[in-house]
Amino acid sequence: MTVINNPSCIVTASNTGVANCKPYPSIIKGAVLLPKGKVLSEAECADLKTTLAALYIANSSLRAYPIQELTGFKDSSKEETKGTSGSYGAEKYVKRAEYVWEFELINGVFYANRLRSFNSPNNAYDVIFLDEKNQMWGTTSVTAGVTGFKGYSLTEFHVMDNKMADGANAGLNNVVSFALKDAKEFNENIAMLSDATVNIELSDLKGMIDLTHTSVGGVLKISIGIQKADDKTDLYDTYATQFAALGNFIIKKGGVVKSVGTTANDLVAIAANPLTKKWDITLYAGSAGTDFTVEMQTPTVLAAAGIGGTPGNYFEDVSITTATVTAT
């Protein structure tokens, strides 16, 4: 029953015995951006390595994005604010801390640009942190009486602009800033998963690497070259044989997916071509058109073909190209 004029001035007190185990966050080495509101269940936490690996390759709206390796830290938080009460001047804490954590990265300017794609106030991601003791830090979330592990809500994620080398630092750093939305999440509701329970380490925080491809049409064939999107590393020398499978590609004509067959515009073969360092797809006699498009399969399909995947990085193609095929 609702009681009017009841301010609920109930004092809850915890006992204050000191336990042997006194956990604190250690130096933070990595982070994972989780889709906003994502709560990891007890079962998901029990095999966190597998859970995160699956989230890294999930569809983009459900995907988690690992960030490693964080190599420095600056605390730009605002401390709790005190205010004076009345003309007598009694001081009281009137506002909680505003956490702003700035971490350094030395993964290069292209990586920084990838992270900048997440720059946003009202961020769409929460964040969990991994420290050097392989402890994962987040916050608790209780749903229907069940406690889960959740990332810290962010008011802003921001990668600061590049700086020029000054001759004093060994490497040019980028700085990524996490502004936490609610101090309570890092205090009363702090949650940690210990190394003993999660068995996860920094090397498990590997994100996907974007690929781009080129395609050039010819007589009954399409030649495809594949590079890493950022540094343009050609994948031929590493994956010549693995990519030589039609199942790695989605070839469409006029928007319709083509498969193997023995009529015009069907796929017949694929061959790694060491002369051009490309893969040549052969089409059946009579194939022709300006409307052939080339895409690559999902990261999991590529991984099954031996291209990327744990314990290394997965690959995701971010390009769709068009090729003109002639019959003669």
Binding site: V260, G261, T262, A272, P274, T282
Partner: protein, 62 residues
Amino acid sequence: MISEMIKLDGFEIYNKAVQSFQSEKDFIAYASKICYFDLPEKEKVAKLKVIYKIANSEKPKK
């Protein structure tokens, strides 16, 4: 079970496309132009003969 594709050293071909050739000679003439085995001609032909044999061993008997 009949495999749909025959895969060998960076070359993959649809087995029914191989079966559609009238003779081994016709197939080798065609395949020589679309595969790039980094081998002397004699060994390349030997590989293609293997592919032809595999494809036709999987061909349903009439």
